[in-house]
């Protein structure tokens, strides 16, 4: 009996997901643990540097929580984006297997990244709690919705990058370079209300800022989120996803043409 298209696709995504985990982390002794430990070390170091040594404090929110809710969403966004850029090239050997479509490789990769950074988020939060930091989850649904919307946005953006990266190597390079400065204007190290209001428009076009500020507001309700909007984040995510899917429909054949 023939399997339905959906069955074939979900089996393919699952196979790619397991393969991705295996090839990225299977060779290390600690295996998958490394996937989580790596970003935890990265963020831990930043925390020590800024939180302890420079003893920065934030009004209304504990500094580690502020930083975790900035860095982790950003890393999710930027790793989905950068991994999309070379998704075609890295998986080119697999397109000889007909059921494997470019979008499947992207779904699998985004899934791996979400899993990693979801765990990183939990590990860091628990760690901070164990170290005596006041951890709260004032609005868990808002936190989950914000992060899921960010994931959708990243996936849509990733689709666009995959297509663009496949068309031109040069553009891929430029995008990688452009992502770096974006780090500094995405509200990861600073809080939106430390910025004078007249400069807000230069920052608020970026949906990542909205996701990050909303996440902070979700864990600490006193942390003010009046300038960001869930609606804007949702619309950006849906528009980006739509644009990505439309482009993909047009370019899928071309991506599979040698």
């Amino acid at each position: 009996m023939k399997r339905t298209g959906l069955e074939v696709q979900s089996a393919t995504v699952m196979a790619l997901f397991l393969r991705e985990l295996r090839t990225r982390f299977g060779e290390y002794r600690l295996g998958y643990v490394w996937a989580v430990l790596e970003p935890v070390f990265h963020i831990g170091l930043t925390l020590v540097l800024f939180g302890v040594l420079m003893s920065r404090v934030m009004p209304d929110i504990s500094y580690p929580v502020f930083l975790i809710n900035g860095v982790v969403p950003w890393l999710l966004f930027s790793s989905v984006a950068t991994r999309s850029l070379n998704a075609i090239e890295a998986n080119s050997g697999l397109f000889s297997y007909r059921p494997v479509k470019p979008i499947d490789t992207l779904i699998a990769r985004s899934w791996v990244e979400s899993l990693i950074f979801g765990q990183v988020y939990i590990v860091l939060t628990v760690l901070m709690w164990a170290l005596g930091d006041p951890i709260r989850l004032d609005d868990l649904p808002l936190l989950i919705v914000s992060l899921l919307l960010l994931l959708l946005f990243s996936f849509g953006f990733g689709l666009v990058l995959m297509i663009v990266g496949d068309m031109s190597k040069e553009i891929a390079k430029v995008v990688t370079l452009a992502l770096k400065p974006l780090y500094f204007v995405s509200g990861i190290m600073f809080s939106l209300h430390s910025i004078p209001e007249q400069y807000h428009p230069y920052i608020l076009w970026n949906p990542v800022v909205h996701a990050i500020e909303l996440a902070r507001h979700a864990v600490f309700h006193q942390y003010d989120a009046q300038h960001v909007s869930l609606g804007y984040l949702a619309v950006s995510a849906l528009v980006m996803l739509f644009v990505g899917l439309v482009l993909y429909r047009h370019r899928e054949e071309a991506m599979l043409t040698t």
Binding site: R3, V8, A11, T12, M14, A15, L18, R19, R22, T23, G26, E27, G93, L94, F95, S96, Y97, R98, P99, V100, E253, A254, L256, T257, T258
Partner: protein
């Protein structure tokens, strides 16, 4: 049945576009195995891959409702750091239902006869072991059509005999789309043929006729 409708394929080269074929129209009738014949660079492999849905034409369509394999004994999809078992399991997950995977893995392990290497990284394999694994993988699935691009038997006499027997057995239930420089194996496995030359593609209802035409052209081209 496989229907090729107005197929064109070209590549960009530094010297301008190179057209492999233009507006190719063909119908491969059901139950016929087809051999693709032509000189090196005539576009046999490209046509094979397009018919199999792996590569895409510039324009035109391939219309079929049959299942078509990946190129038999293809090892390009193997990931060196993964073991043989993991690599073939990946393909099994894509092509078969969950409940059949274990049976297929058993078949491949037994067929490939690479012993403990089956659970070692593929990068530690010799090229012969890779081909054995890849060939076993292809034979573990039932397709309507198998894409066979220059598959040469590897291994010792016993293994070659085993492979040949399995190919012949597959040929009874399925059809081949085949590229080979061995005219003997084309004759053995194929019914019809497509001859590719500079004028384009010609369909022959009889493989022998195609081979004769091909050989006579060959003679014509030799300097007197």
């Amino acid at each position: 049945m496989i229907e090729l409708h107005n197929l064109s394929k070209s590549y960009r080269t530094p010297k301008g576009r190179h057209h492999v074929f233009r507006d190719l129209n063909l119908v491969i009738p059901s139950g016929k195995s087809v051999g693709l014949i032509g000189h090196n660079g005539a576009g046999k492999s490209t046509l094979l891959r397009i018919m199999g849905g792996i590569d895409r034409p510039d324009s035109g369509r391939v219309i079929t409702d049959k299942t078509i394999s990946w190129p038999v004994a293809l090892a390009g999809g193997f990931q060196g750091s993964m073991t043989g078992r993991e690599n073939v399991k990946f393909v099994c997950r894509i092509y078969s239902r969950k409940e059949n995977i274990a049976r297929k893995l058993n078949f491949i392990e037994e067929f490939a006869e690479i012993g403990k290497y089956f659970d070692m990284p593929v990068k530690s394999y010799s090229s012969g072991m890779r081909s054995r694994l890849a060939f076993g993988l292809s034979m573990a699935f039932d397709f309507d059509y198998y894409l066979i691009d220059e598959v040469t038997a590897v291994g010792d006499a016993a293994f070659k005999a085993k492979s040949a027997a399995l190919m012949a057995q597959k040929r009874e239930q399925a059809n081949f789309i085949m590229v080979s420089h061995s005219l003997g194996s084309l004759k053995q496995f194929c019914d019809v043929a497509v001859l590719l030359d500079r004028q384009g593609a010609h369909y022959f209802e009889n493989i022998d006729e195609a081979i004769e035409t091909y050989l006579s052209h060959e003679v014509d081209k030799k300097p007197a």
